[in-house]
Amino acid sequence: MARLTKYSTDEGPGDYPRDRIFRPKSIAVMGVTPTPGTVPYDIFHNILSSGYTGVLYPVAPGKRAISSVRAYRYLTDIEDDVDLAVIVFPAAVCERALTMCGQKGVKGVIVISAGFREVGPEGAEREQRIRDICKDYDISLIGPNCLGVINTDPEIRLNASFARKMPAEGRIAFLSQSGALGTAVLDYARAKNIGFSKFISFGNKAGVTEIGLLDYLYKDDKTDVILLYLEELRDGRGLIEEAKRITRGPNAKPILAIKAGRTPQGADAASSHTGSLAGEDAICEAVFREAGIIRVGSIEDLFDTALLLANQPMPSGDRVAIITNAGGPGVMATDAAVSVGLEMARFAPETTDRLRAALPAAANVKNPVDVIGDAPCGRYEAALEAVLADPEVDQVLVILTPQSMTDIDAIARGIVRIHAGSDKPLACSFMGACDVQSGIDILQAAHIPHYILPEWACAAMAGVQRIRRWRDTPLVPFQPLAVDQSAARAVIDPAPSGYLPEDQALAVLAAYGLPVPPHRLCRSLEETVAFADQLGYPVVLRVVSPHIIHKFELKGVALDLADADAVAAAYEAMIANIGKVMPAAEICGVLVRPMIPPGREVILGAKRDPVFGPTLMFGVGGVFVEVFRDVTFGLAPIDAGTASRMVRGIRSIDVLRGARGTEAADLAGIEGCLRRVGQLVSDFERIAELDVNPLIAGPAERGCAVADVRIRLE
């Protein structure tokens, strides 16, 4: 998709053009009306009442003033420069408003108004027109159909949004495609004392897309963590490229995302094979995984993880120590930690000694440390100090249940004091709601994340763990395998659109090093029998015709032919039947190849997706794919790691590993085939669809063999 305003990443933050949007020195709101409760008024009012530090101009034809601020009839009547225009006019006059922005030299525009692509074809045309205007005048556009932007930086204090109240300042940036969800999130965040650096609702993303905004937030020194709520992806590859850059390497920032909805192309994709098996969502999952974007299921999870990321250092490993004053919650937390993939730390002997010295005899000095229900502040402090000092501990979770003798505030202050200066992340769970609140306030003021339940804390730690592992995984540049591209090109380039005849499809696979059994396209009975004799028996005959896709149905396949007589009989029956059932079908000949010895049938699929480009699918044949939809996806081309993840990531992997006494299939061979298919579809844009179904995977010493293939060219 066209990215309108692609800025070079070399520009310094000071003159970065999008600063016009997020750090404007002056703002004009175009289309303000004097009626409270309407969008045009409220946006203006929110900027005014949030204490924006720049100059604000209402453009309101026919009005002298709005909220006592002198109003202008036209944007061009404003004497000063305007950095940012926020357009709240009805959609019908937005084009004129944008043109005027161009004439005035405004480079940053937010179009709040709805009535564009989301309302149908007429709106889509209107959106295209405003997009063209922005292009002509080099305007950075946010929206249309969005909720606006917020920048909490005290130097700016900009609330150009529907949200009544500006959120607190914080280190988290939130990018949201949905406006309505945006306000809900802000409200929710306020209740949980979560602060934001920026809040951006980008709506129809006609101009600046999430990719451009990610780049901006990456460079934003007020932002540590980026949250993304997406409804549709239009440029999957672009997102991967950008997100990879942001989530790894120096100054890496984690990206957490929620993805809802489907692409408009989803319906298209679902009608063809690969898509119908799992839908676009699974591909999206693959995109996120490849980009290092951590996908979470709910807003709750999003903030739970973000809080830990934004407020605590990154742990250096998976080992967690738990300190609790009650046995039950300690056990629950242990279960939760282990089940999300964390490891319970095994304390060094010195730590155990220190704990034993500081705690009463009844206390548990092993992990989880139980300081007992009557624990005063000192016991918590001693325990925390000991485990933080232990090199076997990477992160700590402190649990408190309010007992009548528990001095909650003192313990909270003690935790804060002991943890200060530690480079290990700490999360707390003061269980309850009323009595513990003042303690929670103390923790939150010191930026120690608090979770009502220890399980939630563990889930957040698990999210952080995913990010750390992603950063620790070395980025292996894609290494192409040796293939004979020119041989494949010789077949593909001259071929017309549609399905390649089987012999040609096999030739293409062979050129890319897939295990294609010996075969020949025979054009007469004599040639067929002679080639079969040469191969040795048993053999398979398959009719080759551009008009026959479903060969089995038309009896165009004969299997396991044991001798020359059987071959001759099968040949004649096949030609006769097709002549009867489908007389118009042009028959190129009959493909003769050896019968492949039995093995596990797997499916390799590839499809060119309008959003994601060439995608790959893997599954085990038969019921596993058709009934259980047990398939994995990847974006082609894939490296060895992804191939292994795709093949070993299916739920029915045990079938391939040789469950219940059956032989294990050649997993490495399958992975090699998948990589080669991936390379093939990314090398040839004309390949719209490719299915190797099945690939027969024998044991490792025999390897794999392609039993059937279909390639559709565009």
């Binding site: 009626t35 409270p36 409760g37 679902a270 009608s271 094979h273 690969t274 119908s276 098996l277 499916i603 699929g605 699918m617 794919v625 058709e626 299915d691 179904n693």
Partner: protein, 462 residues
């Protein structure tokens, strides 16, 4: 790859399909069934043909004056007579609301009964309700009633903890003695199996019902024992596959098919403790219980009983026909109940003040184009209550125009354009913006303003 999806091609059309065979609009939406429902009972698959309800003689019974009255200060005699009269209007000549039951203890009780009967309605028939005490049959006979309910609690909670029987045997013998006395007095007993959804079905309920059926054998039809299944605490479950004692389908099946209680001698009496009351009653109908016991607007002990008006609309939906029911009497009944101080919440279905009142301007816009978009059925015809819009700061010109059309009863092409209401709409907006008003605007105020701002229009349509 195998194509395993069932394809669903778009059926493109320029003519909307409004599914009018299901949503006829001049009737409530119809309920139609396809194929049998299978319920596994004692390990066997039993098929129920729910669609058969269309041709079965199902009825509504009422307990407004008994259970309904347990939940509130007593009604006066006049009030009860008025309610009974309206109930008869709803019931119609076919007697869809077949019976209503009365206490028989006080002088007022008997006066009420006499005056109701003096109105001369065939339906609802008047029946009595007594405790299971032999002496009480005198009251039934004196009142000249043919049938009376009697309390035969069936759970061990009641048998042992409330009634303090020493054993189930002692309890059953005691119940049967009362039934015997009723039969001897020539009164048809209707045994109320109180708390049946917590009872030991196999260990007590079925043996007891077997014995009642045995006692009924050889009696003339109008004397035989009837059974009322009382879900006293609202524990009943309608879902297929639920276990006894909570499963309504299984309970009815056992009584109906294993004990041989005919459908026309089975009645369901529910409570709303789990918000399931109406669906449970309808389930009882579908699975073979001909009578469903209700109260007007669901007023009853604690959370109340199945609402009579809900059962009425369910009845029409299942039958696909009004069957002589006068649904507009529901509105009259609601107005009467409000006038005697019984609160009906504004959002209460069919009878609340706001049940078909739209507040959002965008919904008002829809209503103005075609009232079916945001109205459940022709509420003007069936309840005498056209869909309405509430006028607030969010109403917009569309909302004001719709209010005017509706208030003056203008339909279809007669509907007023929003241009004609511009002045009224401006007044409404200024109420909020200039006057700082916070409340909705009443019909009375709007009517007065229409008279003032649109005098020609007011003259023509007032």
């Amino acid at each position: 790859m195998a194509d395993v999806k069932t394809p669903h091609p778009l059926v493109d059309t320029t003519e909307p399909n409004l599914v009018e065979d299901v949503y006829p609009y001049d009737l409530p939406p119809l309920i139609e069934f396809e194929g049998p429902v299978v319920e596994t009972i004692d390990g066997r698959a039993v098929e129920f043909d729910l669609g058969a309800v269309k041709d079965r003689p199902i009825y509504i019974t009422d307990t407004t004056f008994r259970d309904g009255q347990q939940a509130r200060p007593p009604y006066t005699v006049d009030q009860m007579v008025h309610i009974y009269d309206l109930m008869a209007r709803i019931s119609g000549p076919g007697g869809v609301v077949r019976q209503t039951e009365f206490f028989l203890y006080t002088k007022n009780d008997r006066e009420t009964l006499d005056r109701c009967r003096a109105l001369g309605h065939t339906y609802p028939e008047c029946t009595g309700w007594i405790r299971a005490v032999k002496g009480d049959f005198r009251l039934v006979k004196q009142a000249g009633l043919a049938e009376s309910g009697l309390l035969t609690s069936s759970s061990d909670y009641h048998i042992f903890h409330k009634l303090k029987f020493k054993s189930r045997r002692q309890c059953m013998d005691s119940y049967c003695a009362v039934v015997d006395a009723a039969l001897e007095a020539g009164v048809r007993p209707r045994c109320h199996l109180e708390d049946v959804t917590r009872a030991d079905i196999d260990g007590f309920v079925l043996p007891f019902v077997d014995r009642l059926m045995e006692m009924s054998r050889g009696l003339p039809e109008q004397q035989t024992v009837k059974i009322r299944l009382c879900d006293t605490m609202g524990f009943g479950i309608s879902y297929p596959g639920a276990r006894l004692p909570r499963s309504i389908p299984k309970l009815i099946y056992k009584l109906n098919r294993e004990c041989g209680v005919p459908s026309d001698r089975l009645e369901w009496h529910g409570h709303n403790d789990f918000h399931k009351v109406h669906a449970n009653a309808a389930t009882a109908w579908l699975y073979g219980c001909d009578f469903v016991n209700t109260t007007v607007f669901g007023f009853g002990e604690r959370t109340g009983n199945p609402p009579l008006e809900g059962a009425v609309f369910e009845y029409i939906a299942l039958k696909g026909d009004l069957c002589g029911i006068d649904t507009t009497a529901i509105t009259a009944l609601a107005e009467y109940m409000r006038s005697i101080g019984l609160p009906i919440p504004d959002n209460y279905p069919f009878a609340g003040r706001a049940f078909n009142v739209t507040r959002a301007g965008i919904h008002a816009g829809g209503l103005r184009q075609d009232e079916r978009i945001y109205n459940i059925f022709d509420t003007a015809k069936l309840l005498g209550r056209p869909p309405r819009v509430a006028i607030t700061d969010k109403s917009g010109t569309d909302g004001v125009a719709l209010w005017v059309s509706e208030f003056f009863g203008l339909k279809g092409g007669e509907q007023i354009s929003k241009i004609k209401c511009a002045k009224l709409a401006r007044w409404v907006i200024d109420q909020y913006e200039v006057e700082g008003r916070l409340t909705a605007i009443s019909d009375t105020e709007l009517e007065a303003k229409t008279r003032e701002l649109m005098p020609d229009f007011w003259q023509k349509f007032k």
